[in-house]
Symmetry: C2
Subunit: 550 residues, 2 copies
């Protein structure tokens, strides 16, 4: 038997587009003499379709779309994902279904049993979990078909009291197929490979996994669909961040040697992978929303430089516009570094001073501010004047403003709401400042795109004379170490301190994170590249007392 | 037996505060010779505690807090809500538990069986549903204790395949108790009363319901805890939007006549109830975040007038600051209406012209805007100049800026991101424009607080000469009718059109709603007063194709 894995970048809600892509893939697979082509989870509607799934019309159209794909399945079978109505009395109205298609129609429906409802997932909002699991006979094989999470609870000791593959195994399968929409995080890919390998090994079966690829606003899917031999060794892996279709001879897969699953990426590999994910995220957000051009406020600092480099790679230099907005405390090197960056990448750049606007704002507020100490309020006027000018250009010319905030500053609330927190998409919002430097290193590997002085100078918001980030924040290496433990490792103050970090510093950082939740609530969508993003997947109350965490 | 219902406004995460309030209530109940005092769902931690529940430390502290409440239960019993660890292998780590306390310790733990995971709820993110349900013997009675949603699936045909009260009924209960955190929506209270009554009637038991009261950022809880006789008639109901504690003699409840559950509020009742909810929401957000003072940009229009009236009722006139920000196209009546409104309420008011700032912005952009038609970009400069000045005052003096957008304009994206969409809390963001007028009528019942001309003039953003909202939007009565059907009734274009609405208009409105999702993603938290808010409880993709809805 020949099995094709189709790794496709679907468009949520765009059923016509998704069906056409699948029909084309079926044709290609057929030309390559495949017997079965496997698409990813919820492929007809795109993932995540969110509350579109609450529309009965939408679900009807999805079922019709499945039938349209089925009509292309003559002499070939396909596994397609989509929602299907739950016809039993009681329970959620939908199942998350893998449709097994051949002879022009739906032959089997396998419903997902484990519905992830944590972090970025909320599948139980829409779907009823299946309770029964049966293998499917096809072409002399017995297929254990599963949907994503179904294979992630191997010992039934985790988040769910059942393990679907154990139940499927009673049907004596000869082959495992998993269709998934498993999101990217820089350290998640090896983990996913490990789970797939463990399933193949535990049941002694070849395993074919088709994963979604593409950016869906903040949620990124890397693809990396993979094939494992019955010993749990990796036989092949499709690319990350790109579409592909590959056909495998089942016998060859079962007999092949394979290699161990890849190790956790480190340093440059990690930064290269993050950059790849962000480039895809930017490109797909523009493509799927029908936008063409991006606007970046280029400050001469590292964040806007890396944001622009990502945007140029994603959209092409002719689709990126850099605007420099020097203000009363901008240094000469900021302007020259920004100009150098723009020239290195070849993007159009313009300079608009904010000085007059800031002066008008200060004059308007002078009566009220008289007698107060200059502080945050005055500094924010500058950040907000920049935002108004950038948004003016955005509104006039239809360019989407990219937000340049990094995860470290977003975490501690070191940014101006309606100022530098503006933008349609936060490119670096899930990247710690120390990793932004790492990305800059990777970007500069072949040539100095980002000026060296942008990388070497001390970070500053330049909102008052001689200001440095370290006036308000710890050194970023230290800040990021504490943030990583608090956010990603879910450690509380006491356990972080017990690792040797300064008590006052740890408590100060955690307090800053907790009490800046209200700012992040209004931030743009953040491209997610870590296991714990400050945007999607983190749901903290705004009005709480956070004392128990300190 | 004497049973007390304690309706308390808890503070999420503030365990010390919550425990102290419960201990005080136990003391009061004891003085009134109660045998049992009933608190609402998740009372020790507050509801919703969201991802605070993912912290093991937080759950440990909650369990300690339950023990502290138990230590106050000598000679009296209490039902208290809190999270508790799931000690079985497999499944989510927590239960949503009702603790039955007496003799100084936890005697029974009842775990919630039905976990709402839809609209504003995502309880399966944290909790494992209970599978077994047992009654509790206490003081000669057998108590069927349930948590909120457990009683909402009476025929097991709804969202869940089980009905916990049916299972509890096998234990031959003599009394039902339901502890809840059932959020407010203007039409939800009669529905909740109906479900409670149906449970009492179906099982022929007296029913005591203790519901949460208070605002938790966007989510509002009205309280309205209630007591029903075994015929399902309402015996008593605690106030809406206020704390209370009442003690009932079980025998008297069972024997009392009762009244039917209240009907759906209409017109003035509806608007009065909405105003009550919003006043509580504003007051609680300020109190729980430790803020004192509010800032309102007063335009002379109806939205900012009603927002200010709500703020004054919530915080007192000395804690509200009105700022008028006339611009190049502000009419004389706007300024005079705003001044009249400020004077009628007695709040401090100041006027700051935006003209110079707008001129500076226009000059800065002149080179780039040259040769283009003036349009949205220029209009937005004015809205954003206002926002920057308001935020300057907010940052300088620590006043929270209240957002004044209404639901109708938020729905169709008729507002400026980082302009009039600014603010820390959206007071009217879930109130349709036509209901904003209704609220104005209620506010003006005793005296003309809101100037009549504010109510009678045609709504205008005043961002260009002679502009009216109806230049871009249908009449609000029509717009709201379509929005209500699309958002609240989940009707698609075809079914709305089949009710007689103009086809082009319906499709235009739905398209505006779908393709302005990206603006609302960055809006402040919206106080929720309807069954379908545009903030919490609505989760739409940003990058989707919405064609199936049109």
């Amino acid at each position: 038997m020949r099995i094709a894995l189709a790794q496709i970048n679907y468009h949520v809600g765009n059923l016509r587009y998704n069906v056409d892509r699948m029909l084309a893939a079926i044709k290609t697979a057929q030309e390559e003499r495949a017997d079965l082509v496997v698409f990813s989870e919820l492929s007809v509607c795109g993932y995540p379709a969110r509350d579109l799934l609450l529309s009965a019309t939408f679900v009807d159209r999805c079922m019709e779309a499945v039938d349209q794909v089925a009509s292309g399945c003559e002499g070939i079978a396909a596994v397609v994902g989509g929602p299907s109505p739950n016809k039993h009395a009681g329970g959620k109205g939908l199942y998350n279904t893998a449709f097994f298609l051949y002879d022009g129609r739906v032959q089997h429906m396998y419903h997902k049993g484990l519905l992830p409802t944590y972090d970025v997932f909320n599948e139980y909002r829409y779907f009823e979990p299946a309770k029964a699991f049966e293998t499917i006979a096809f072409g002399g094989e017995r297929v254990a078909l599963t949907v994503c999470e179904d294979i992630w609870n191997l010992d039934a000791q985790g988040l769910y009291p059942v393990n679907p593959p154990d139940l499927l195994n009673k049907g004596k399968p000869t082959l495992m197929i998993n269709i998934s929409a498993s999101p990217f995080a820089w350290d998640h890919v090896p983990e996913r490979m490990h789970i797939l390998a463990e399933n193949a090994r535990k049941y002694g079966l070849p395993l074919f996994s088709a994963n979604l690829v593409g950016g869906q606003t903040d949620l990124l899917f890397d693809g990396a669909s993979a094939v494992f031999n019955p010993a749990g060794r990796l036989v092949d892996r499709l690319p990350s961040f790109a579409e592909d279709l590959r056909v495998y001879e089942l016998g060859i897969v079962s007999g092949s040697e394979g290699i161990p699953v890849p190790a956790m990426p480190e340093k440059e590999d990690k930064w290269r992978i993050i950059k790849g994910a962000l480039v895809m995220g930017v490109r797909d957000y523009f493509r799927k929303t029908g936008l063409k051009k991006a606007l970046v406020g280029l400050s001469g600092g590292i964040d806007s430089a890396v944001t622009m480099a990502v945007a140029v790679e994603a959209l092409g230099k002719d689709n990126v516009w850099a605007v420099l907005l020097p203000g009363p405390f901008s240094s000469d090197h900021s302007v020259s570094d920004a100009v150098a960056m723009a020239e290195n990448t070849g993007v159009r750049h313009d300079t608009i001073s904010i000085n007059d606007t800031v002066r008008s704002l200060e004059n308007s507020l002078a009566t009220h501010f008289r007698g107060t100490q200059p502080g945050i309020a005055e500094e924010n006027l500058q950040a907000r004047a920049r935002a108004v000018i950038l948004m003016g250009l955005s509104n006039k010319f239809g360019h989407l403003l990219l937000n340049t905030s990094n995860k470290s500053e977003a975490a501690v609330g070191y940014g101006t709401l309606y100022g530098d927190m503006c933008g349609g998409l936060a490119v670096l919002g899930d990247v710690y400042k120390t990793d932004v430097y790492g990305m800059a290193r990777v970007i500069n590997l072949r040539q100095e795109t980002i000026p060296l002085s942008t990388i070497t100078k001390a970070p500053s918001a330049e909102l008052k004379p001689g200001q440095k980030d370290t006036d308000s924040l710890p050194e970023y290496a230290l800040l990021d170490a504490v943030l990583y433990r608090f956010l990603e490792k879910h450690m509380d103050a006491r356990s972080i301190i017990s690792e040797g970090y300064d008590e006052a510093l740890v408590r100060k950082v955690i307090r800053m994170v907790c009490y800046s939740e209200h700012k992040r609530r209004q931030s743009p969508p953040i491209l997610r590249i870590s296991p714990k993003c400050l945007g999607i997947g983190r749901e903290m109350p705004l009005e709480a007392d956070y004392g128990t965490l300190l």
